[in-house]
């Protein structure tokens, strides 16, 4: 009986395309620009570099997508990375006397990293869900706390991994399968799992529901607190994973490790089309966002367009433009 028009497929389809195209368009433009500025840009070497560098932010951004979709926020990921990396290194160095320098020690280190991540995430999540404190405050506090703990652990300096242990661990960042680096592989896997979790599991839907309307979710038998808590724990674990890949790169951690990574991570998520206000998130978009941010740096280094002082300015402009390209979807807010 009702004369529905809201489901005009044309309209809906078009809308979808537009929002989907947004970030991808920006990405394509960047790639083309990069290539024109410097053909080496598309060299497998450079691509590999960019991808494996981006993997840290990327892995965390996937987790952040869920946190934000569920209406949360986490400002602590950057310094959390530094903290976890620091502890990992200290643990591994500490174990050498007893266990010697071998994979065993490294595996223990990795385990520590992941567990520490889960724990840190749980602390954030519990303070937010059980105590009902604004995520912004909790994670801002944590950010400051982790940062200063690292400085303290490093005595203001740098915590360095035992050299010979470092050289065993190195392949985890520099090595790979079929010429594809481990960080890239891990990032890809995390992204795919994330995409599946977001679109094809009840968990993803529950995150969106909570972010969209917490009470509706509660009334619909969704266990709001647990789902939220879980988003922070998962993010924590992913931060741990990122640290596990980060440590072998330079074998050190200091209080300048992961500086401002939280902003970069969140920016990647939003550029990807996820709503900061929650209720709608897409993992593949986040991946695109991560690549966009990674490429900007890379391109700026590959070309000397301007005074390096102005790199930031260009960066800022591109970030904004990347989102202008998809304002169609934002305006639906």
């Amino acid at each position: 009986m009702s004369e529905t028009t809201s489901n005009a497929p044309g309209k809906a389809g078009f809308k979808f395309d537009l929002q989907a195209l947004g970030p991808i368009l920006a990405l394509i433009v960047l790639v083309v620009v990069g290539y024109l500025l410097n053909p080496d840009f598309l060299g497998s070497k450079n691509i590999t570099n960019v991808l494996s560098r981006s993997s840290f932010i990327g892995i965390m951004a996937v987790g952040m997508t869920f946190v934000i979709t569920a209406g949360g926020l986490d400002l602590s990921v950057g310094s959390m990375t530094a903290f976890i990396a620091g502890i990992m290194i200290m643990v591994m160095n500490g174990l050498i006397p007893s266990l010697g320098t071998n994979w065993g020690v490294i595996l223990v280190g990795m385990g520590t990293g992941l567990m520490l991540g889960a724990a840190a995430g749980a602390v954030n999540g519990l303070l937010i869900t059980r105590m009902g404190i604004e995520a912004f405050i909790v994670t801002l506090g944590m950010m400051v706390i982790f940062r200063s703990l690292v400085t303290w652990m490093a005595d203001g300096g740098t915590i360095s991994l035992n050299f010979s242990l470092g050289s065993i661990y190195e392949p985890v960042y520099y090595g790979g399968l079929f010429g594809i680096r481990w960080p890239i592989i891990v990032f890809a896997i995390v992204a795919i799992l994330g995409e599946i979790a977001m679109r094809h599991t009840a968990y993803g839907r529950h995150c969106a529901a909570i972010g969209s309307n917490e009470q509706v979710a509660r009334y619909s038998a969704v266990h709001v607190k647990n789902v939220r808590l879980m988003t922070y724990i998962v993010l924590g674990i992913l931060v741990g994973l990122a640290s596990v890949l980060y440590v072998p790169r330079l074998g050190s951690a200091s209080n300048s490790t992961g500086l401002l990574w939280e902003l970069e991570t969140i920016a990647a998520v939003i550029i990807g089309g996820t709503l900061l206000s929650g209720g709608y998130g897409r993992v593949w978009g986040t991946v695109v966002g991560v690549l966009i941010l990674g490429l900007i740096d890379n391109i700026l280094n590959l070309t000397d367009l301007v005074s390096p002082y102005l790199n930031g300015a260009i960066q800022g402009v591109i970030i904004i433009l990347a989102v202008v390209l998809q304002r169609a979807r934002k305006s639906s807010r």
């Binding site: 009702s2 529905t4 489901n7 839907r205 529950h206 309307n213 509660r218 009334y219 038998a221």
Partner: protein
């Protein structure tokens, strides 16, 4: 018995059958204010039990307690003869008790299908079974004769469609006890019929149904047993046929309510204040033209999705539109609600939760938001505001536990009254009201109708969109009937009757001076 249940004249169930769900001496207070006083009632399998009462009587609260959304301050909820305490609605649902909320309970950003299965997603192993869910959604909506695309975003569908989605969501839960809080408040006769057919089906399957509505004719039609509440107490329980509509109303309100509508007042001679020519909004409203005269009460009827709301939202400037609009003969361009206000035109939105009221603020702020200019030169005149609130509470008989209660914590009907008061406070020359009496009890309706007439007498012009046929017929001396975004025809005088209007709405004939 299934036979008996299948047709409307099913004999009332004998007390011998055991109740599925019952309340015994339930009390409930919010803060210091007690809302419910020892409520006791039973729901029997295969029986439709109607709960009626004035706005704020405590119907929704009672229903929420039955279905685990609220805890009783005292007293027991008894399921299958055993006392239960539902820690959350989740548990109630698990035990087969489902509630359709009076206020919509859908996540705007999710799709229809996602909302229907929220919290009960169908899975294959780890992953969601999209195909199955989409199919079931189609099937459910099909049964409700609401051909919506399962993927359409909930924010984009109309209010009645949202109501049907709510119903579909409840049906998908396969409940033993189905509690419906004013399911038809936002539905036209068509959808109501569809719903009733479902109710018959469920009765036949032995589901116990608790039902509230302020449309007493419906109650008289489908209820096997009627419980009347007043001020948080049960004042009467009756079997089918014991009460006619007037008696129900009297039992609820405590006074006689014959002649609901004041005598009609044709405004033929008067000059037009609002003239609309070739008004179009995308695909929703096509080339609509009509004129509204001074002191006239013009009705708009039509099926769900006929585009009435869109048309009015377009005139109010909150939807982009094309076409010409003239007020008092002078052409006006209205791009947003501010322009409309300046032009002396205000609109009472259909969806009070999304567009009407700020549920997280108190009555005073909500009341004065639209007409705030009147209360502030540099700073806001708090006293004047309080005075306006007193006046509104008095005029519209708004009942709330305290004058500082969040609007979100008020009863549905009382929220609607606050919304009415808010619009009227702007003292518009032209007032468009969309489903004005949605969820308002008969007593208040009567007051409201007199109010509308007073408004018209004072030279204001009123457009009434209503899905309640009696309302349109009783209130308006001229009715425009919309169909598929066009005005299918216009009826006046004696033609203003249910039959003519429905025929036009459904395109069965071209009676009246239609514009097609």
């Amino acid at each position: 018995m299934s036979l008996a249940a299948a047709n409307m004249t099913g004999a009332p169930r004998t007390e011998s059958a055991a109740p599925i769900l019952a309340l015994s001496n339930v009390q409930r207070s919010f803060g210091p204010i007690q809302i419910l006083f020892d409520i006791s009632m039973e729901l029997y399998p295969g029986e439709v039990h109607a709960l009626i009462g004035e706005n704020g009587a405590g119907k929704s609260t009672t229903m929420k307690i039955m279905s685990g959304y609220l805890a009783a301050s005292d007293g027991e909820v008894v399921l299958d003869a055993a006392p239960v305490t539902f820690a959350r609605s989740r548990e109630a649902e698990a035990m087969g008790v489902t509630l359709i909320h009076q206020e919509f309970n859908l996540a705007q950003q999710l799709s229809v299908e996602e909302n229907i299965f929220l919290g009960h997603e169908l899975k294959r192993g780890f992953l969601l079974d999209h195909a199955a869910m989409r199919a079931q959604t189609r099937d459910l909506l099909g049964r409700l004769e609401t051909p919506l695309d399962p993927r359409s975003k909930t924010a984009d569908i109309s209010v009645p469609e949202k109501q049907m989605v709510e119903i579909a969501k409840a049906l998908s839960r396969k409940a033993r006890v189905l509690i419906m809080d004013e399911p038809t408040a936002a539905l036209t006769t068509r959808e109501t019929e569809v719903l009733f057919r479902q109710i018959d089906r469920l009765k036949a399957e032995g589901t116990a149904i608790l039902y509230t509505s302020h449309k007493l004719d419906e109650v008289a039609r489908i209820a096997d047993r009627i419980t009347v509440m007043r001020d948080g107490r049960i004042v009467r329980t009756a079997q089918r046929g014991e009460l006619n509509e007037d008696q129900m109303a009297e039992a609820m309100v405590g006074r006689d309510l014959s002649d609901m509508f004041p005598p009609k007042r044709p405004a033929d001679g008067a000059e037009p204040v609002l003239e609309v020519e070739g008004f179009t909004i995308g695909t929703l409203v096509k080339d609509v033209s009509f004129a509204l005269r001074r002191g006239e009460i013009l009705g708009f009827a039509g099926l769900v999705g006929s585009g009435r709301t869109e048309l009015m939202e377009g005139l109010f400037g909150v939807r982009p539109s094309t076409g010409s609009v003239a007020i008092n003969g002078a052409p006006v361009r209205i791009h947003n609600a501010e322009d409309a206000m300046k032009a002396g035109l205000v609109y009472l939105p259909e969806d009070r939760k999304e567009n009407g009221l700020i549920l997280t603020q108190d009555m005073r702020r909500n009341l004065t938001l639209l007409a705030l200019k009147k209360f502030s030169n540099i700073v806001i005149d708090r006293k004047a505001e309080e005075a306006a609130l007193d006046k509104a509470i008095e005029e519209f008989d708004i009942r709330a536990p305290s004058r500082d209660v969040l609007v979100g914590n008020m009863s549905g009907g009382n929220q609607q009254k606050v919304l009415l008061a808010k619009i009227m406070l702007a003292e518009p020359q032209i007032v468009i009201i969309d489903e004005p009496t949605r969820g308002i009890d008969v007593g208040t309706k009567q007051q409201f109708y007199t109010f509308i007439h007073a408004l018209a007498d004072a030279g204001h012009s009123v457009v009434v969109i209503s899905s309640e046929m009696t309302e349109v017929i009783g209130l308006c001396d001229r009715v425009a009937v919309m169909r598929r975004g066009r005005i299918a025809g216009e009826v006046t005088g004696d033609d203003v009757n249910e039959d003519t209007i429905v025929r036009l709405a459904m395109g069965l004939d071209k009676k009246g001076n239609g514009h097609e």
